[in-house]
Symmetry: C2
Subunit: 257 residues, 2 copies
Amino acid sequence: MTAERATAAVLIIGNEILSGRTEDANLAYLGRRLTDLGVDLREARVVPDVRATLVAQIDQLRREHDYLFTTGGIGPTHDDITAECVAAALDRPLIENAEARALLVERYGHDGLTPARLRMARTPTDAALIANPVSAVPGFRVANVYVLAGIPDVMRAMFESVAHTLTGGPRLLTATVVAPLREGDLAEPLRAIQEQHPDAEIGSYPFYSSAQFGASLVIRSADPDVLQTVLDAVRAMVRELGAQPLSEEVEPEARRS
Amino acid sequence: MTAERATAAVLIIGNEILSGRTEDANLAYLGRRLTDLGVDLREARVVPDVRATLVAQIDQLRREHDYLFTTGGIGPTHDDITAECVAAALDRPLIENAEARALLVERYGHDGLTPARLRMARTPTDAALIANPVSAVPGFRVANVYVLAGIPDVMRAMFESVAHTLTGGPRLLTATVVAPLREGDLAEPLRAIQEQHPDAEIGSYPFYSSAQFGASLVIRSADPDVLQTVLDAVRAMVRELGAQPLSEEVEPEARRS
């Protein structure tokens, strides 16, 4: 099943996230939206703005996945090196993109287009710009690499402007059963259900609050019939263990009539 | 400077984070605490619980860094495969750890120690347990790999119980100047300051709110004198650009008397 689905990686560029100064707000958004689009986000990496690291990681991830999304490092300051690193990773020249330059002139005027701002017009050759409705400075796509801003509002707007162009596989449908059970008590029957249904992916995510332990059992499959069958089996398992689900959630698309 | 400092990587194991179902809450904590301890967190990766992926990444990251911290995948269910992957990555046998088993017996009793729970007693050979004051199930350290829980409260307690054993370099001191300036207007003088002071790391993090753009200029150095010199230069730059800092923050340890 996995072989048929498009895969993606996310590369989050930013020393401030590794130092704990800033919490990343982009990964969860991209994960949800790519899932919606039927694209499997298979890996995310957070790296500092060190040229050799960036070039190597961009090159590896764009080869291993159908799509690579980068966030951050596209501004005008000395620590904004994403464009040059993408160019190096793809072995393309870094050029001044005429269309990007025109957008910056429109925004800042000829007088305001300092050398630092002009850096933001640089892209590898054959890049398609990604519009930035918030602050004009564009992102770009080159081959399968999508270069997005780091500021969450801007990143989201950029992603949404390319989302319709992404080719995903069948969307993974999800059903969740939250059970007031310890994982140690449900692990064996849950494993048996997983082994009987290799077409579904079953995850168990334990939690506790107010000294009450429980687990969210998450079933994912592209096939609504498989999803329903496994959901029924998980519900039955919870009851056989003497409990009632605390809550259930089934995506509307996955409900049977 | 970097060569003298201890480095670390974090490997966050969990499909639910890649699907956007759950937001990771561990990376920012680990980033802050490692920075406190003088350890440079150089990379973080979020990966699914796929055995081949995990083994390869654990092996790569533990070779490249002084410390590798993993979070998640140490429970009793079929998708908890961290211990076996760490053993495979380090080419050590996976054993039933007698000390871990004793902790589980104490917690669950002999009768409650189901085969699924007994999986949580497995570690590679020569592992040192990491206490879990919340739910008894231990993490472990083997060589330079620290295997921690994914639940944030438990992860934090585990990290704190080993924090004193980590050998960091001199702590990086940080000063931040928040300026009501566009990055495009400060990028050139800021680059000049960075080039004059290669012993400091200067980052610029743009933000905007209520249509007001600004940038947080973050200076990091292990040397308090370098920090102060660069801070003075950045302050002077902001004033030369006709602005006043909106706020400043200097770590107490970095203040001159």
